[in-house]
């Protein structure tokens, strides 16, 4: 199998010593009839093997679009990558021809989605859809591919995998369906898994099962995981590092302990304060006043300034705050990060 893998899986220029995944200054915009929506405005982050990076942000902050740009599944038009690079082991994926890009998908970088029911094809059995991955990417026969599909369902702990392989997606519960999608993503042993809100549609007890499974599989394979979520509880449980996104920019990046104990960006701080906590019972919750900006009309200077309680004159003027180095491997896009940290 290794020779087939070698054959179907060659990406020229890959340097095994280069960082696993690097996103530099990524810009994505959507050109619509109502104007240009700047969904991602300079996203930067990196990922190492075995590591979990959480991308945290509210709806419309550009976290899913970033993931789609990395995967190369952005709807274009209306979406366009206008600037930046996505480097996998040194190779800029955005410059690869589509055919080589296809080899990267699933082989090297795979993705799972929030809504497994709409991500799976309702008219094929899950076994067929799983086997398809092997037949197309590995040139296996139908019989061999089906055997591998059963093995995979076993690995993601679906009971009675042999019988369930010929079931259709609607015959599975939400949690089981998410397991099928994880199996499909991991079929070709990718080095990077992007999980876009993998448990948002699930109940907490099932969420705990799925997050446990992901952690286990990640450890077995030493896989890099990008977890896109808005749930600060899940992030605290599994992430090594966090990138907080707001209006298409990574506004703060730090190790998980640092962010929760001493946020350096006012937005991170405000987000953490708006979660209901035990000692806040019976009191008003802290709120972030106002609304996130419309992406067609992002405020000048720091995009967060109209909602920020630290905002002063420099924040309202271009250029936007740069990524200040708060500590080694820790950045924040706030002119007054010292003030935010120091309170």
């Amino acid at each position: 199998m290794t020779d087939i893998k070698a054959q179907m899986d060659v990406i020229p220029g890959v340097d095994p010593r280069a960082p696993l995944l690097e996103v530099n200054d990524l810009h994505v915009e959507f050109r619509t009839q109502y104007g240009v929506a700047k969904a991602v405005n300079g996203a930067n982050f990196w990922l190492s093997p075995g590591e979990t990076l959480a991308i945290l942000g509210e709806s419309g902050c550009g976290k899913s679009v970033t993931a789609q740009a990395i995967m190369g599944i952005l709807d274009s038009p209306p979406g366009f990558i206008t600037k930046g690079e996505v480097r996998y082991r040194g190779v800029d994926l955005l410059k690869l021809p589509e055919e080589q890009r296809r080899r990267v998908r699933a082989n090297r970088i795979a993705m799972i989605f929030q809504d497994a029911l709409s991500a799976l094809n309702p008219v094929y059995t899950v076994g067929f859809q799983l086997a398809e991955v092997f037949r197309i990417h590995r040139g296996m026969s139908r019989g061999d591919a089906k055997k591998r599909a059963i093995e995979l369902l076993d690995q993601v702990k679906i009971p009675a995998a042999k019988a369930r392989v010929s079931d259709y997606p609607h015959q599975f519960s939400g949690g089981m369906r998410q397991r099928v999608m994880i199996a499909m993503a991991l079929a070709l042993d990718p080095e990077v898994l992007i999980a876009d809100e993998p448990t948002t549609a699930l109940d907490v007890t099932v969420q705990a099962q799925i997050m446990g499974l992901l952690a286990e599989l990640q450890q077995q394979r030493n896989m890099g995981l990008i977890l896109i979520t808005h749930d600060m509880g899940v992030v605290a449980d599994v992430a090594d590092r966090i990138s907080v996104m707001y209006a298409g920019k990574v506004v703060e990046e730090a190790a998980v302990y640092d962010i929760y104990s001493r946020p350096a960006h006012p937005y991170t701080r405000a987000l953490l304060e708006s979660i209901p906590r035990l000692d806040m019972k019976g009191q008003q919750l802290n709120v972030i006043r106002g609304l996130p900006p419309a992406l067609t009309d992002i405020p000048k200077g720091c995009a967060f300034n109209p909602r920020c309680r630290y905002a002063k004159d420099p924040c309202r003027q271009d250029p936007a705050p740069p990524a200040y180095a708060v500590a080694p491997h820790r950045t924040a896009r706030c002119h007054f990060f010292r003030e935010v940290l120091g309170e």
């Binding site: 519960s173 007890t205 099962q209 899940v234 019972k281």
Partner: protein, 335 residues
């Protein structure tokens, strides 16, 4: 504080499963709500938590009269809502209103905000005379923190949080005593969620409202509720004051549910007492005999399959718990 504004006894809702097209024969029933007793006191918030399919939304619909219960009673101000008819029912319904989950689908996109909030007055014209309605709607907008001048705008011109405020204004229009909130903040982002929760709490103080607050987010429920009921497969399995449920849960399901909630504090990682349940919730069309949780319970013994545990205080459970082996276990604070 202790006067009861709403009380249900043995509330049951079974949805029939039928077979055949012309001659429909009943072959079974989805037991969505199966014997719920609860009490709501004046000015109090009762939180109802549970996973999808446990019957909490059906319970909400029963309470506001959108579904007719199969059996049981819903007493509001000494009147049984289930038995009321015609004018009496219409008048009684004024008193119990609802806020729905999804502010994107629960507001008619073709109606202006003024029409949406004013519609309850069309149905109950005796509340506000026709001339005063516009004024009343503007007052309501102001009460929920929206600009009264926006009365002629359409829902799509508002953000998610603002739409939920419109939904709340509509529920307040008839000056009810009770508002049933069915997942009122779960479609909203964290920063907006906090705004809506604060609004609900302020309105409660201002108008002396009682809330039934249904949600699956346990930290939100804890924040807003005075008492909490935990539901599983159509039944309440544990009920008590918020501190009793969260700090001293005695039913294994409550313990598992609480332990599964991720805590936004990375220092607790690996130190929490995490109970991972096996499998999925059984189908409410064919629930297990005896205790309905026994198929996923680590404490289950033969008695659990034979004898249905009642929701009552027990030797080791100072508050009502429907488990033969109820016992306090603190799962939230780690060890």
């Amino acid at each position: 504080m202790s006067d009861v504004v709403l009380e249900t006894k043995g509330l049951v809702k079974h949805f029939p499963i039928t077979q055949g097209i012309v001659f429909k024969t009943k072959v079974g029933a989805v037991q969505a709500v199966d014997g719920v007793d609860l009490q709501l006191r004046r000015g109090e918030t009762l939180g109802v938590v549970g996973e999808s399919g446990c019957g909490k939304s059906t319970l909400a619909k029963l309470l506001v009269g959108l579904e007719k219960p199969t059996s049981g009673s819903i007493m509001v101000r000494g009147q049984d809502m289930v038995r009321l008819k015609g004018n009496e029912l219409r008048r009684a319904r004024r008193n119990i209103q609802m806020v729905l989950q999804d502010p994107y689908t629960s507001l008619n996109p073709r109606m202006t905000v003024g029409d949406i909030i004013g519609e309850p007055f069309e149905i109950h014209p005796e509340v506000v005379p026709r001339k005063g309605r516009e004024r009343a709607v503007q007052d309501l907008l102001d009460t929920v923190g929206l600009n009264p001048d926006h009365i002629n705008r359409y829902p799509h011109q508002f953000s998610g949080g603002q739409r939920q405020r419109i939904g709340i204004a509509r529920a307040l229009a008839l000056k009810p005593e009770i508002i049933v909130c069915d997942e009122p903040v779960s479609a909203l982002d964290v920063s907006i969620q906090a705004q809506v929760i604060n609004l609900l709490e302020r309105l409660q103080d201002e108008f002396g409202l009682s809330y039934i607050f249904i949600a699956h987010d346990l930290s939100v429920v804890r924040h807003i509720s005075d008492r909490v009921a935990v539901m599983y497969l159509g039944r309440i399995v544990e009920q008590g004051y918020d501190t009793e449920i969260y700090d001293q849960p005695t039913h294994p399901y409550t313990q598992a549910l609480l332990s599964a909630v991720p805590v936004p504090d990375p220092r607790l990682r690996g130190h929490r007492d995490q109970i991972v349940l096996e499998g999925d919730v059984p189908s409410p069309a064919n629930p297990p005999s005896g205790c309905r949780f026994r198929t996923r319970c680590w404490k289950a013994q033969s008695v659990c399959a034979e004898k249905d545990p009642m929701l009552q205080t027990r030797e080791r459970s100072p508050h009502p718990s429907a488990c033969h082996f109820a016992e306090i276990r603190d799962v939230v604070h780690g060890h």
